[in-house]
């Protein structure tokens, strides 16, 4: 039996909600970065689910997977830059908490 598309969308929704909540509520930079990854992956799940929904046995729809691969690539870059920032910040200031990094605030 195949998993119905609705379940996949609900999973994506739950993942995205967890990501948003983590992004807004947590102060640890690494956790915030992880939350962003979660949101991106929720989007990936949606893409894949949509693609599967529109595929038939003889005609595979590959738009979703292609997009998902792009998103994963971008997410990898984002993670690399983000972690580099976190390391640089920690080296200089011994900080990882977001609310302590507010020198440029208005």
């Amino acid at each position: 039996m195949t998993v119905p598309t609705e379940h996949l969308l609900i999973l994506a929704g739950i993942l995205f909600t967890i990501g948003v909540a983590g992004f807004f509520l947590r102060r640890n930079l690494i956790v915030v970065l992880m939350s962003i990854e979660l949101m991106l992956n929720a989007a990936n799940v949606t893409f894949i689910a949509g693609s599967r929904q529109h595929s038939t046995a003889g005609d595979l729809n590959l738009d979703g997977p292609i997009f998902a691969i792009f998103v994963i690539a971008v997410a990898a870059v984002e993670a690399a830059v983000g972690l580099a920032l976190v390391i640089a910040l920690f080296r200089r200031r011994q900080l990882v908490m977001l609310d302590q990094v507010n020198e440029l605030s208005g």
Partner: protein, 660 residues
């Protein structure tokens, strides 16, 4: 018409002299850095300048001689220079020597030469010696350009040039403060007249399509025949007269001339008595057909002249400053010249111009000699008894004063009485002007002799111990003597008809003035019987003698008469002392409002509105920034919220638009 390119050298030589003197001034300034007392270059510059004017005088004489050869209406003309060439409207500037301009050239260079020589002595020791002669020569060059130019734009260049030199020379001692202000006043007031003159030229260019004086003179009849353009002709004449009012110090623009006495005395003599201020008179005579075509304008000119003569003459009665008396007297005599012009007595105006140049230059130079000998004292109340100390100055000054006051047989007597005779002969409304003129003539005699008495007679009202009046050196007194001779015999140029001798100047100028006379009077100019003329001459002589005697007698023993007048009629004394309150009226009604307007523009419009706009743009951007920066509170969550909500908003918008 005879070609004569040497005419360009008449203004050219003084111009060259001016450049040489100017260069020497700078050389001297550099030399002074090494040896501070260096004066050698200045002396060289002075004699260069004198030689330039002398050479111009000789050229003027040569031109005069050539003019005698070419017949009555002949002229000498130089090659002309095409200044403005637009195809349809050209301006050519050339030099033309005719009978009128030859008289002016000889007066300007002749009197100018004497005054240059005098200035060599008068300005000795001044740190700006070479500069002074550079300016003075430039002035002579510009004045000669003015009188020789054959087109109005050329004349206007000279007109502006003499104004500039007048400004430079009035403010020659600018570091004293007041001369700088006086120079500015002269320049600004002249500017008003000059603007009128320019407008007049525009009207003429529209009417005649050319600004050549000969073309305009020849075209007046044609324009006059067209009733639609008569009004424009009168307007042009009026505007040109406005220019003359500024340059020749007539009501309402005379206020600059008394202040112009702040300049060195040779300047007062040359520019503000003998030559520049007569430029207006010359210009009107030059354009005589134009003015003759507008009798109403002419009567207006006569009225302004008579009023100016009266106002300035009565003001001269109470002045204490020797040079101020002479300044107001100059204005008054210029008024007489314009009265003559108003009567259509062109030749008489020039006659008075010439005699006035002689005796007023003499009086100013004499006053300069007195001031020089009295160590810069100008107040006549602190002079007196100087005839013992400076006999040569005294005798020549008396000759000048006698000529000015119109004592019989001296130059001023003939020229002034000829003016009054013309006013009388014209009759009708001109009789009123004649009355004003004769009253002013009486005042002239009075103040002339008051001046002589206060300066040279009576007690010595200065501290004999500290001030030692001394006679001036020969370089100053010799020009005085030459001018004194001219002032005495100058009347021979224009003896009245009843003497049954030739009126030299009148006959000489007649061909130049024929067109104007015919336009104005037709075939029959106003004529007087010899008996009337004798009576008028007698009246003039009697009045001059009586008032000269009274003026001399009142002040021979000191200044008591002035004090009595001031205490008995304080209001009148104040009124006359302030030149009928004209200066004060200008200060109240024009200068103050203009200053107020300037203040309004500076503070309200510039500082408040314009600066406010500019500064406000900056301050507004800064205030906006202060508000916007609160958005960046340093919390990633807030940024995310903004980002998310705006993205969601855009998404909804896009969907909504997409649905439609």
């Amino acid at each position: 018409m005879q070609s004569a390119n040497f005419l360009w050298w008449i203004p050219g030589l003084p111009l060259l002299g001016s450049i040489v003197a100017g260069i020497l001034h700078f050389v001297e300034l550099r030399a002074r850095k090494r040896s501070p007392g260096d004066r050698t270059y200045g002396a060289t510059a002075a004699w260069c300048a004198v030689a330039a004017v002398g050479a111009a005088f000789v050229l003027g004489l040569i031109g005069f001689g050539a003019l005698l050869e070419v017949g009555e209406t002949g002229t000498l003309t130089s090659a002309s220079w095409r200044w403005i060439d637009t195809g349809g409207f050209d301006v050519n500037v050339g030099m033309v020597l005719d009978r009128l301009s030859s008289v002016m050239v000889l007066v300007v260079t002749g009197v100018g030469f004497l005054i240059h020589v005098y200035a060599v002595g008068y300005m000795k020791g001044d740190p700006g010696y070479a500069k002074f002669f550079a300016y003075l020569n430039l002035f002579v060059a510009m004045m000669l350009l003015l009188v020789l130019s054959d087109s109005l734009p050329g004349l206007f260049v000279g007109w502006e040039g003499v104004g500039l030199c007048s400004y430079l020379l009035i403010g020659f001692w600018y570091e004293k403060g007041f001369p700088a202000e006086a120079a500015q006043k002269a320049f600004v007031v002249n500017r008003i007249g000059d603007a009128c003159f320019l407008l007049g030229m525009f009207v003429l260019a529209g009417l005649f399509g050319s600004l050549d004086i000969a073309t305009i003179d020849a075209g007046v009849r044609g324009v006059l025949a067209d009733p639609e353009r008569q009004g424009q002709l009168a307007l042009a004449a009026l505007l040109l007269f406005g220019g003359a009012c500024g340059k020749s110090a007539q009501i309402p623009l005379f206020v600059w001339l008394p202040d112009a006495m702040a300049g060195p005395t040779p300047v007062s003599a040359l520019i503000h008595a003998a030559t520049m201020v007569t430029a207006g008179v010359y210009m009107v005579v030059r354009m005589n057909p134009l003015f003759a075509a507008c009798p109403n304008v002419l009567y207006f000119i006569g009225t302004i002249g008579a009023l100016t003569a009266l106002v300035a003459g009565s003001t001269a009665l109470v002045q204490r400053d020797l040079k101020k008396v002479l300044a107001y007297s100059t204005i008054s005599q210029l008024g007489f010249m314009f009265l003559a012009l108003g009567c259509g007595a062109w030749a008489t105006a020039i006659f008075h111009l010439v005699t006035h140049a002689f005796f007023k230059a003499l009086l100013f130079l004499g006053a300069g000699s007195v001031i020089h000998g009295m160590h810069e004292e100008q107040d006549m109340h602190r002079m007196g008894g100087l005839r013992k100390h400076m006999p040569r100055t005294f005798i020549t000054f008396v000759a000048g004063a006698a000529a000015l006051s119109g004592l019989p047989l001296l130059s001023g007597f003939f020229s002034k009485d000829e003016i009054l005779a013309h006013a009388f002969a014209d009759g009708g409304p001109y009789l009123l002007l004649w009355g004003v003129g004769i009253a002013t003539a009486a005042m002239t005699a009075y103040y002339s002799w008051r001046m002589v008495a206060l300066t040279f007679f009576g007690q010595e009202r200065f501290d004999v111990a500290t001030v030692e009046p001394h006679e001036s050196p020969a370089v100053m007194t010799v020009p005085l003597m030459v001018l004194a001779v001219l002032a005495v015999v100058g009347g021979a140029l224009g003896l009245p008809a009843v003497f049954h001798v030739q009126n030299l100047l009148g006959d000489w100028l007649a061909p130049v003035l024929a067109e104007g006379n015919e336009l104005l009077f037709g075939a029959a100019p106003p004529h007087m019987s010899p008996a009337t003329e004798w009576v008028l001459l007698g009246l003039g002589a009697a009045l001059a003698l009586a008032f000269a005697h009274k003026g001399f007698h009142d002040y021979r023993d000191g200044t008591a008469a002035d004090a009595r007048f001031a205490s008995e009629r304080p209001a009148a004394a104040r009124f006359l002392g302030g030149a009928w309150g004209v200066d004060k009226a200008y200060a109240t009604w024009i200068v103050q409002p203009v200053k107020l307007l300037a203040f309004l523009i500076a503070v309200v419009i510039d500082q408040f509105a314009i600066d406010g706009l500019v500064n406000g743009a900056g301050a507004g951007a800064r205030r906006l920034g202060m508000r916007v920066r609160r958005l960046a509170d340093g919390s990633i969550a807030t940024y995310g919220l903004w980002m998310g909500s705006v993205t969601a908003l855009l998404a909804f918008l896009w969907m909504w638009m997409g649905v439609r």
